[in-house]
Amino acid sequence: MAKGIMAAKSDKSQWNGFSLKPRKQMPEGLWLACPACKHMLYKKTVAENMNVCPECKYHFRIDGDTRIKQLVDEDSFEQMCVELGSDDPLKFKYRGDTYKNRIRADRKKTGGIEAMLVGKAFIRGRGVMLGVMNFDFLGGSMGLVVGEKFCRAVDRAIEESLPLVVVSCSGGARMHEGVVSLGQMAKTSAALAKYDESGGLFISVLTDPTTGGVTASFAMLGDIIIAEPGALIGFAGPRTIYETIKVELPAGFQRSEFLLEHGFIDMIVPRNQLRKEITRLIDYCGK
């Protein structure tokens, strides 16, 4: 890991904070190399295998739309608050660029408006309120729109007595929105307190990565917390920790298995079992 960090440092010049390049960009051509086991894989096979490496079960990161397709009954996702966008509260400028430009670029890149999609859906016939974060949009960071969408999903889950399922994939609070984004941590947590009092079931699904302000708010407040295998989950990013303590971080640190061992998640569920496990939990606990 430390080696990776050094690589990151030397590679600084190509990086503008939130990379515009899609992550783990599928290289041109028909083949790709698994970042974990280095096997050469046929791209189509990987896609057909829910973007999981057939050799070593490495879970590739997937965008919001793919996640929804994989998780819900076909065409059952009924999206809400699609049009909600951020009006750049701080008029944030940096290095000759602006937050507004970044939003515009990521809208173009992802075809979506924000870093979270919410809506009603069915999973194996069970109605749920679903929230899915999209890492491709400003690192899945939580700004005022993500916070508001989350809360509206909670409201509707209370109204319609539905279980709430949120798939997190985020670098944390969106610094371009300053304390407005920090406040979303309190806002989403307060909404969950109401949901909790209404007796609703919140299943929080953590995927790679879930860190910072998202982990330190709604993601860790699930009645049941599930993680995909090998996902990076934590409060501080590994680089911050490394730079603070200057000691090499233990192998597997902040991965799903580490969190399970330390008692912070209920279970690790591979991607192809998610639908089954979520519905089983809903049948046990849901209303």
Binding site: A8, G139, S217, H262
Partner: protein, 387 residues
């Protein structure tokens, strides 16, 4: 409040002047010299001293009325700035500190204490940075570990049980980013506090007295009223951290501090802060008593207001307030027909991978993977967005 130089009780060491206070430092040196002179040969220098003091007051007023955001960050971090222990000493009577999270330990970075402010019984929860090296190490420079947040929570639950209002004093660079903190669930501890504080059935007042470092500050900062000292700051990320990520250069902290709108004034304009508490002339560190007195008066007055409200209404208002954060900055984006990803141009001839040797392909793949790897790690620091 009128200020005169005789109000200034704290003598600064030469190295405790901030970089933008050079003139003040020079005037202080001159005054000190005159005093020494007067003491040595018994001459009367009081008129000249008063003149210099008036100059100094003017200079401090001038400097402190136009501090830049980065200068405010420096004032908020001043080594002589009053800490939570000073507030306990000067503002709270009958202090009974309560220790321990009943689970792992007693985090010295967060102090929880019963006490009396004015005539009010309160639970005071505050982040402590420590005065001297020994204390600083003991309380981890004000960076709490999970047990600190858990201690705060169980003491706040105790206060709720006995209807004791809660006052939290925020002063932390951030929650500690360490291996142990992660092992013991820093994120979970903060998240639990956010959720529980939003529904605690007692009035809560939070005041940023120095540094409001991100989630670590918010972890004791969900309240009915949020106030900030005039020269404190509150931010989603440290200016240095933000500069390192968005400017790719930690030394651009000055610009980042400006962009982040982290000062009390800016946050008031954004509607995120309810009140700004005045500091003494030249910053809280120049007159502990005046500043702490102002904080005390704010607490007494605000508690009186909050206690008049029925608790159900108070909770409803608190919830409405939290739910409204950022709402005025939403805007509706026209939705175009769902974009279909541009399909790759159908090539006239099918691609024949065999035309490139397997070795060459493999090499290219490895190159791309390496590049993507470095992106991967570079981008990890995005996750540092909110330590």
């Amino acid at each position: 409040m009128p200020f005169s130089m005789t109000d200034i009780q704290v003598k600064l060491n030469p190295n405790q002047y901030l970089p933008f206070e050079e003139k003040v430092a020079e005037l202080d040196r001159q005054i000190e010299n005159l005093r020494r002179h007067a003491a040595q040969n018994g001459s009367d220098q009081s008129a000249e001293i008063r003149r210099l003091q008036r100059l100094e007051t003017g200079e401090l007023k001038r400097i402190y009325s136009r501090l830049t955001p980065w200068q405010i960050v420096q004032v908020a971090r001043h080594p002589m700035r009053p800490l939570v222990t000073d507030y306990l000493e000067l503002m709270v009577k009958d202090v009974r500190e309560l220790h321990g999270d009943r689970c792992f330990g007693d985090d010295r970075a967060i102090i929880t204490s019963l006490g009396q402010i004015g005539r009010e019984k309160v639970l005071l929860v505050g982040q402590n940075k420590g005065k001297n090296t020994k204390e600083k190490i003991a309380c981890n420079f004000g960076c709490p570990n999970p047990e600190g947040y858990r201690k705060a929570l169980i003491k706040m639950k105790l206060a709720e049980k006995y209807r004791i209002p809660i006052v939290t004093l925020i002063d932390t660079p951030g929650a500690y980013p360490g291996v142990g903190a992660e092992e013991r669930g820093q994120a979970q501890a903060i998240a639990a506090n956010l959720m529980e504080m939003s529904r605690l059935k007692v009035p809560i007042i939070s005041i940023v007295i120095g540094e409001g470092g991100s989630g670590g500050a918010l972890g004791i900062g969900v309240a009915d009223r949020l106030a900030m000292l005039e020269f404190s700051y509150y931010s989603v990320i440290s200016p240095e951290g933000c500069a390192a990520i968005l400017w790719r250069d930690g030394s651009q902290a000055k610009q980042a501090a400006h962009a982040l709108k982290l000062t009390a004034k800016d946050l008031m304009k954004l509607g995120l802060v309810d009140a700004i508490i005045t500091e003494s002339l030249g910053g809280a560190h120049r007159n502990l008593h005046d500043t702490i007195y102002n904080v005390e008066q704010y607490i007494i007055k605000t508690l009186r207001d909050l206690k008049r409200t029925k608790i159900e209404n108070l909770l409803e208002t608190r919830y409405r307030k939290l739910r409204a954060i950022g709402n005025q900055y939403q805007k509706s984006i026209g939705v175009k027909a769902p974009r279909t990803k541009a399909a790759p141009k159908p090539s006239t001839r099918p691609k024949i991978p065999e035309r490139v040797s397997i070795e060459a392909q493999l090499q290219k793949m490895q190159e791309i993977t390496r590049q993507n790897d470095s992106y991967e790690f570079a981008e990890l620091s995005e996750q540092d967005t909110n330590p």
